[in-house]
């Protein structure tokens, strides 16, 4: 087991380097760079952009060095100081920008994942053991609706309904009175008044998916022989269900924990944009649109790193829960 973990950890290092180069190159791919976008923007607002101001801007943003040099400086600072550089668009250190949004982003994602699991798993179990019952059909029906409505559209519809019916604005995470205030108990309460809308919307589509997976997995398990044997031996139905088939049916969820890590960091971009939430997703998208290469590069890098880490975690979890994987791996190496 230890050997397995160490080997996987070591593999991450070269992968990380390749990823960092790929991220940096990807950011450079679209035509132009941050300055062309910025100069266009200035022109549109009616600013004078002559040779003199362009020459100054190039220096001001430190873009007068060749790409490879920019990459090495960027990487060096990340590794030695954990410093992701400066965002061109915000003119601020990236660590500060990300730090400010990280907690809200994580809070939102974790809440919606909890909501998803809280609703999804019980309903999935119910639907499986009462297959083709009236409630199974009802849940299936709503599940498919949840799956097929894009969550950003749902967000738009809810915003409009609430506005036109009650004249209320439900975008954002805080009322205006608290938006700029420092953290107090009142602000936390205010936030929880707003946070349910995005949590519900983001959770909705996830829930639908989870119900379907849980139902299918459990149905597969329920048909297996050990269930029949256990039932024949007279094990109480409830104990039987939760002790064996449910545990195995949850396995695929664990293997997706790894994919959840990056989405906890920056998930549901479009919903966040529609709801105007101060989370990571919109920041990432703006960075891409503005060709803010250090900020966008940092995002790509962090997300890829979290994916690597997440995959590792789910591998370890799976190996820990399911001895078959563990032994196969040892045998193979």
């Amino acid at each position: 087991m230890t050997f397995f973990i160490v080997r996987r950890l070591l593999l991450i290092i070269p992968l990380f380097f390749i990823l960092s180069i790929v991220s940096f190159v990807i950011i450079q791919l679209p035509p132009g760079d941050y300055l062309t976008v910025y100069i266009e923007q200035l022109r549109r607002s009616g600013a004078l952009v002559d040779e003199a101001s362009i020459a100054r801007l190039v220096k001001e943003y430190g873009l007068d060095q060749p790409i490879y040099k920019q990459y090495f400086i960027w990487m060096k600072n990340i590794i030695t100081q954990g410093n992701f550089g400066r965002s061109l668009q915000w003119n601020k250190p990236i660590n500060e920008l990300i730090g400010e949004r990280l907690s809200l982003s994580v809070l939102l994602s974790v809440l919606s994942i909890i909501l998803t699991w809280f609703i999804g798993i019980p309903i999935g179990i119910y639907s499986a053991i009462r297959q083709y019952s009236a409630f199974d059909y009802i849940f299936t029906f709503f599940g498919f609706i949840g799956l097929s409505i894009p969550s950003f559209l749902l967000a738009l519809i809810i915003i409009w309904l609430v506005y036109s019916r009650f004249g209320l604005m439900i975008t954002g995470l805080f009322s205006q009175a608290y938006a700029d205030a420092p953290w107090t108990l009142a602000k936390v309460i205010d936030m929880f008044k707003h946070v349910w809308v995005p949590v519900l919307i983001i959770g909705m589509s996830g829930t639908a998916g989870l119900i379907r997976t849980m139902r299918a997995n459990l149905l597969d398990e329920l048909r297996k022989q050990y269930v029949i044997v256990a039932r024949a031996k007279g094990l109480p139905e409830r104990k039987l269900l939760f002790k064996y088939p449910v545990r195995i049916a949850i396995n695929p969820m664990i293997s997706t924990i790894g994919w959840m890590l990056p989405s906890i960091f920056s998930g549901e971009t479009i919903v966040s944009i529609v709801l105007n939430l101060p989370t990571m997703g919109p920041l990432f998208m703006q960075a891409l649109l503005a060709q803010d290469m250090y900020l966008a590069g940092s995002f790509v890098l962090i997300i890829s790193f979290l994916t690597l880490l997440g995959t590792l975690i789910s591998d370890i979890l799976l190996a820990w829960i399911d001895p078959r994987i563990r032994y196969e791996n040892v045998g193979g190496s």
Partner: protein, 634 residues
């Protein structure tokens, strides 16, 4: 009759003596201030208002910034917060325009032919040969931190910023002699200085009265006492080092640090908190990178007609939305008090419908930017180029533009046919012209053929900086197809488009604004929005113009005046001469059809809180924003 006149004169004299006594009697308490500042004065944290204002503050009346007749200025009340919201980073057009304080000023967008009034500077004199300009600062005027504004600030801006190679890698042409050398600065005393050019430069005062120029600590005036702290000449490397490190900058990057802490450049950032300004509002806090809080400048140097120190409104809160599409929701939810830049005519019905719910008013005012159709006269295809250089071809295209349709379909009727371009609509005549110029052969699908047998094609490209661009292009495509010219349009991302323009690959662009009303008020704008814009004047001509004829393509005789008139205007000796050249320039654009402007006088909504006062009823939308210091809550 004579007696009557004498009587009036005597009466007048007597009255003026009384008025004189009156002003002496009131001189104890001449000016009023906001309650929040009065409190600070009582606590001893701020000197009294008389000491904060300059000896002669600017009296804000009709005709100072807003033209007479566009608004009836009321004496406002103090207090309140102005909430503005902007896509992307905080600040944006609304904050930017409120903060503009040009060194000189003219009402509205400007008045060519008239001498500039003072604004930040009290006044100026131009020598007869228009080479020497003497500027007078306002005595006793102060930066927002209470330090006096003197010629020391001018000297610093000139010697240590403009002439510093690291801070100014390329010297701006509008401050240079025609050989590229910088102007000469002469400090006369604490409040007087001279700017001396080698040649006549009658347009110079216009460069200083343009609101668009970034004048907050602009190239001629910097808060030297504060900025010296970030300048390597006055602060040693060891002292700068901690700040450099804190901002993630390298050891040699003091220049980047300097810009970070100065008002140069755009946008709000927390490093700019504390940088002195002359604007009505001072940045005091950024609770997050998306929100900026600005509070009144206690040393603001303008008073209203009743002697109340401006601005009236206490605070500006600049918030952001992630995308411009989210702005309407915020406005309709009543979370925005003043929206100018990102509102478009397309959403006017939606805004109107929710006026009462959102507690705002929609005012339709004039937009200062019509959309031009510009041709790439230096396109590498010689046959195409020859056809487009032919005035008859452009005339035919212009005659085929159905302006009424554009006005109705794109602008809901809120625009009028252009004057800078002849605006007759006559497709039959257009067909005739095209036939007569040798484009009479057509292919099997009915499209006109060029002399070399290929189809005559026009590709319109746009990066659609606003919502009206694409529908307008669509109509142009239809109009031009109707006279047998095969036209297509393409939406191109703005960075890709500028790359294509720089590589000289485009044909027709409908992708920029042509600030014609601004040019008509202040002809210096020609240099900005026409001569320095590759999109408008073609890649080859741009190179020719910026390299002073050494590189690029030389424009044909017909187009040359577009460039040369501006040079003559720059070197003219009086405002009247400038006005004359401006008229010639406009006539050149009109007669040569260098670019085609389909419609002018576009109306655009301005969204304001229904309780806001001193909003103009007429004139240009952006002027209402420039005049932000006079806004107040009723």
């Amino acid at each position: 009759m004579k007696k009557f006149l004498v009587g009036i004169v005597v009466l007048g004299l007597v009255l003026s003596v009384f008025a004189g006594f009156g002003s002496i009697a009131f001189s104890q308490k001449k000016y009023n201030e906001a309650p929040m500042l009065a409190d600070l004065v009582k606590q001893g944290k701020l000197p009294p208002v008389e000491q904060r204002l300059p000896e002669e503050p600017l009296v804000y009346k009709e005709g100072v910034e807003i033209p007479v007749g566009d608004v009836k200025l009321e004496i406002g009340k103090y207090g309140g917060t102005l909430r503005v919201v902007n896509p992307g980073t905080p600040g944006g057009g609304e904050w930017w325009a409120i903060s503009r304080e040009p060194l000189l000023n003219q009402p509205g967008l400007g008045q060519p032919g008239k001498k500039q009034d003072g604004n930040v500077f009290k006044n100026f004199d131009m020598s007869k040969d228009a080479k020497t300009f003497t500027f007078y600062l306002r005595k006793g005027m102060k930066w927002s931190d209470g330090e006096p504004v003197t010629t020391e600030d001018v000297k610093f801006a000139y010697e240590d910023v403009l002439l510093n190679k690291e801070l100014t890698p390329v010297f701006p042409t509008w401050l240079a002699n025609s050989d590229g050398t910088p102007f000469k600065l002469e400090i006369v005393d604490k409040y007087t200085f001279r700017v001396i050019f080698k040649e006549s430069y009658g347009l110079f005062p216009y460069t200083l009265s343009l609101h668009w120029q970034t004048w907050d600590s602009g190239p001629l005036l910097q808060p030297s006492h504060y900025m010296k702290k970030f300048h390597i000449k006055y602060t040693s490397q060891e002292k700068l080092q901690p700040l450099l490190k804190k901002n993630g900058l390298g050891e040699k990057e003091w220049a980047r640090l300097y810009w970070l802490y100065s008002w140069e450049g755009w946008g709000l950032g927390d490093t700019k908190i504390g940088c002195p300004t002359l604007a009505p509002y001072v940045l005091v806090d950024m609770p997050s990178p998306q929100v900026a809080i600005l509070r009144r400048n206690p040393y603001y140097w303008k008073v209203d007609a009743a002697g109340n120190q401006l601005p009236y409104i206490d605070e500006v809160r600049a918030d952001t939305v992630t995308r411009v599409d989210m702005l309407p929701m915020k406005i309709m939810g009543g979370e925005v008090d003043f929206a100018r830049q990102a509102v478009s005519i397309k959403e006017v019905a939606l805004y109107k419908e929710n006026e009462a719910k959102g507690g705002y008013k929609v005012k339709l005012l004039k937009f200062h930017c019509p959309i031009p159709i510009t041709f790439n006269y230096t396109n590498p295809d010689p046959v195409w180029r020859k056809i487009v250089w032919d005035k008859r071809f452009r005339e035919a295209l212009n005659l085929a533009i159905n302006r009424k349709e554009i006005i109705d379909a794109v602008y809901n009727g809120f625009a009028s046919p252009s004057r800078i371009t002849p605006s007759d609509y006559n497709p039959a005549k257009a067909n005739q012209i095209l036939d007569s110029m040798g484009l009479n052969k057509r292919d099997s699908e009915g499209w006109r053929l060029r002399p070399d047998g290929k189809r005559m094609e026009l590709l319109i490209e746009t990066s659609a900086p606003a919502t009206d661009f694409i529908p307008m292009c669509e109509l142009l495509v239809e109009n031009w197809k109707s006279i047998g010219v095969y036209t297509t349009m393409k939406y191109v991302d703005s960075s890709l488009l500028s790359q294509r323009v720089n590589a000289n690959q485009t044909q027709v662009l409908v992708s920029s604004w042509f600030d014609l009303p601004v040019i008509e008020g202040n002809p210096y704008m020609i240099d900005w929005v026409v001569l320095n814009d590759v999109q408008k004047i073609s890649r080859g001509f741009y190179e020719w113009y910026t390299s002073v004829g050494k590189k690029g393509t030389e424009p044909p005789a017909a187009f040359k005046p577009v460039f040369t008139i501006y040079q003559k205007m720059r070197a003219s000796k009086s405002p009247m001469e400038i006005k004359k050249y401006l008229e010639t320039w406009e006539k050149t654009i009109h007669d040569t059809l260098f670019m085609l402007v389909p419609v002018e006088d576009i109306m655009i909504p301005l969204i304001v809180n229904e309780k806001l006062g001193n909003i103009p009823d007429k004139g240009y939308q952006i002027i209402a924003n420039f005049a932000g210091e006079a806004l107040f809550y009723k």
